[in-house]
């Protein structure tokens, strides 16, 4: 592991140099929240943020991904849209990198999704520790408060400097090209440990059980009255899934130009919380109620994704808790309550 340090002023100059030569995306303040967006000047970058509205996964699995273009003149001619613009993302928080690892398992598992893969290969990741967690986050108790492997560079705000961990060759190259950083020693690394340790006590929400036990409490909780109690309030708006960094479901649609000569097939984010998500052509809906859909979503997060892809489908970011207007979407509430119900029988 290689560690470097750089003053914040120097870092800003480095970001400026990156912007000159690359597509750089970073966290911008967008009142009342923050959002990942293309940076045009280094001073737009805001690294002491609490949460972004959407996760940076939107760069790898965009809300709308063109799959192919075609001509309608009778013959199929599919122009490839499998491609990606190289770029650099600055400011990913640990929980979002955990979520990206889940997307890797989904889209680069048995089947390689070329659209995702293309983006993943050419977009570099510079993350940063989340030392002042958002009030809705429960990442600490989900084991996602610190970054997994898989970043190119990782920053820790140590006051007037950033400590930088180099995570890959691509990261090394970025340092060589853009960062005027000097070597860091054991003192800084120890300081990072301390800062990280201290951040854990700042989380307001936490899961009462080990995350490994979530599938177990779900196994016993299928018939809990909680599902109905929460689910009947759901108005199927899908907000809880649109903001979720681990939600991967999509619809596939076609559009045609007005001249009906050519068109495009694309995939677009979909939500298992929408009422017709599981409706077939005959009209049969296999998840007809808000209760069915809320339960499915939380089983998917807490059990199915783990079984299928080896990672929990919730990284504890808290976005869904905040997004739900009727206050029923919270995984930490549901899992804690089921754990309590399991204990008390």
């Amino acid at each position: 592991m290689e560690f470097l340090k750089i003053s914040k002023a120097q870092f800003q100059l480095s970001v400026g140099r990156m912007i000159d030569e690359n597509f750089v995306y970073g966290v911008k303040a967008k009142s009342p929240s923050y959002e990942f967006d293309r940076l045009f000047t280094a001073d737009e970058l805001c690294l002491n943020y609490n949460i972004t509205l959407l996760s940076p996964n939107k760069y790898f699995l965009p809300p709308r991904t063109p799959l192919m273009g075609f001509k309608l003149d009778g013959k199929i001619s599919v122009d490839s849209m499998v491609g990606a613009q190289p770029g650099i993302i600055i400011g990913i928080h640990p929980y979002d990198l955990h979520a990206l690892k889940l997307l890797d398992a989904v889209f680069l598992g048995n089947l390689k999704d070329a659209y995702y893969q293309a983006r993943r290969q050419v977009i570099a990741i510079i993350g940063i520790d989340c030392l002042q967690p958002w009030q809705y986050s429960f990442a600490a108790s989900m084991g996602t408060a610190f970054p997994p492997a898989g970043f190119d560079l990782w920053l820790t705000d140590t006051g007037d400097k950033y400590l930088i961990e180099v995570g890959s060759e691509k990261g090394e190259e970025l340092c060589r090209k853009y960062l005027d950083a000097s070597e860091a020693g054991e003192i800084e690394v120890k300081q990072r440990e301390k800062l990280r340790e201290e951040s854990l006590s700042r989380y307001k929400l936490s899961l009462d059980i080990s995350p490994q036990l979530i599938p177990e409490v779900l196994n016993s909780g299928w018939n809990s009255s909680m599902w109905e109690e929460l689910g009947e309030k759901c108005f199927s708006c899908g907000s809880c899934t649109m903001v979720c960094p681990t939600c991967v479901c999509f619809d596939v649609r076609d559009t045609t130009e007005l001249n009906r000569l050519s068109g495009e097939r694309y995939r677009i984010w979909d939500s298992c919380m929408f009422d017709a998500f599981a409706t077939i052509a005959s009209g049969e809906n296999f998840r007809p109620t808000g209760t069915d859909r809320l339960r499915h979503r939380l089983y998917r997060k807490g059990k199915y994704m783990l079984q299928r892809w080896g990672r929990l489908g919730c990284v504890g970011c808290g976005r869904c808790i905040h997004a739900c207007l009727v206050d029923i979407a919270s995984p930490v509430y549901a899992y804690n309550r089921l754990a309590r119900e399991a204990r008390t029988g």
Binding site: V78, V82, R253, R267, F277
Partner: protein, 281 residues
């Protein structure tokens, strides 16, 4: 921009020519197709394809013919919405797109030497047809064959010619029924829902595997009858329909609990289905 080739896209539909178009009824058409690259589809009975009309969309459709029937294959399609209606407007010689085959298909090797009880409700006949054709083409490999085929009314019964040929064979028993028979309609078969055929069949439960496809409401009653006949849960095999958007285990639409119908199905045995909480049978 860094680009890759078409073939790397899992969504790339293979150009496929319609070589024959036969109306089965007012709502259903049988299409005979061949991949333009000359290859066979290399499918297993019970698998499905995603049929693509550029500019309109895709629909999952069961492969209605057996791989034993040659390189061309058949799809039987009921017009219900955008894609299926657009398909109904096509002519022989037109080109569509095909992705697949997808899904697990029927467990063909497990079915060897077994007595088979096919139970088809309405267009549930389509996915079963590939297996029935396979069995008839490879007849010595299988035991006794019974087909129960139920429709709502006589006009909805499809594949008359084929049924007639099968009826003439002495190595397969066909029993059909309609839920109701409007006055003045010609009908020689049974009247009543498909479960009313069960008392009339004679099977050896230990030797028999049931293969079931039909509308969702049918499954509960048919499974109950099969169990009553003494067929083991593992030997009751059902082909399911769910909403599908990708066919490759990514879009999430077809999920039942953690089972992806497009990957782990569409064929499931009842012992497995019984464990899924979202299935109420």
């Amino acid at each position: 921009m860094i680009n890759k080739s078409n073939s790397e896209s899992l969504y790339f539909p293979r150009p496929t020519k319609l070589i024959d178009v036969t109306a089965l009824s007012e709502r259903e058409i049988l299409f005979r197709l061949r991949l333009e690259d000359g290859n066979a589809l290399y499918h297993i009975p019970g698998q499905f394809v995603e049929v693509s009309i550029l500019g309109t969309g895709e629909a999952p459709i069961s492969i209605a013919s057996s791989p034993t029937q040659g390189d061309a294959f058949e799809l039987a399609i009921r017009a219900v919405g955008n894609v299926t209606q657009a398909l109904h407007r096509l002519q022989p010689g037109d080109t569509i797109g095909i992705r697949g085959p997808f899904g697990n298909g029927f467990p063909v090797s497990e079915l060897k030497d077994r007595d088979l009880l096919f139970i088809a409700g309405g267009i549930g006949f389509f996915p079963l047809r590939s297996m029935i054709q396979y069995v008839l083409d490879m007849r010595p490999l299988f035991g006794k064959i019974i087909l129960l085929y139920g429709c709502r009314q006589p006009a909805e019964q499809l594949f008359h010619q084929e049924l007639k040929e099968w009826r003439e064979r002495d190595d397969v028993l066909i029993m059909d029924t309609v839920d109701r028979c409007p006055p003045e309609t010609e009908w020689e078969g049974n009247v009543g829902v498909i479960t009313t055929l069960f008392p009339g069949i004679n099977i050896l439960p230990a030797r028999t595997t049931a293969l079931v496809a039909g509308p969702p409401v049918m499954y509960r009653y048919v499974v109950a009858e099969c169990l009553k006949k003494g067929i083991a849960k593992e030997r009751i095999i059902l082909s399911l329909e769910r909403r599908m958007k990708c066919g490759i285990g990514l879009c999430g639409h077809c999920q039942i609990d953690n089972a992806y119908v497009c990957l782990d199905g569409p064929v499931f045995n009842y012992a497995k289905l019984e464990q899924l909480k979202e299935v109420e049978l």
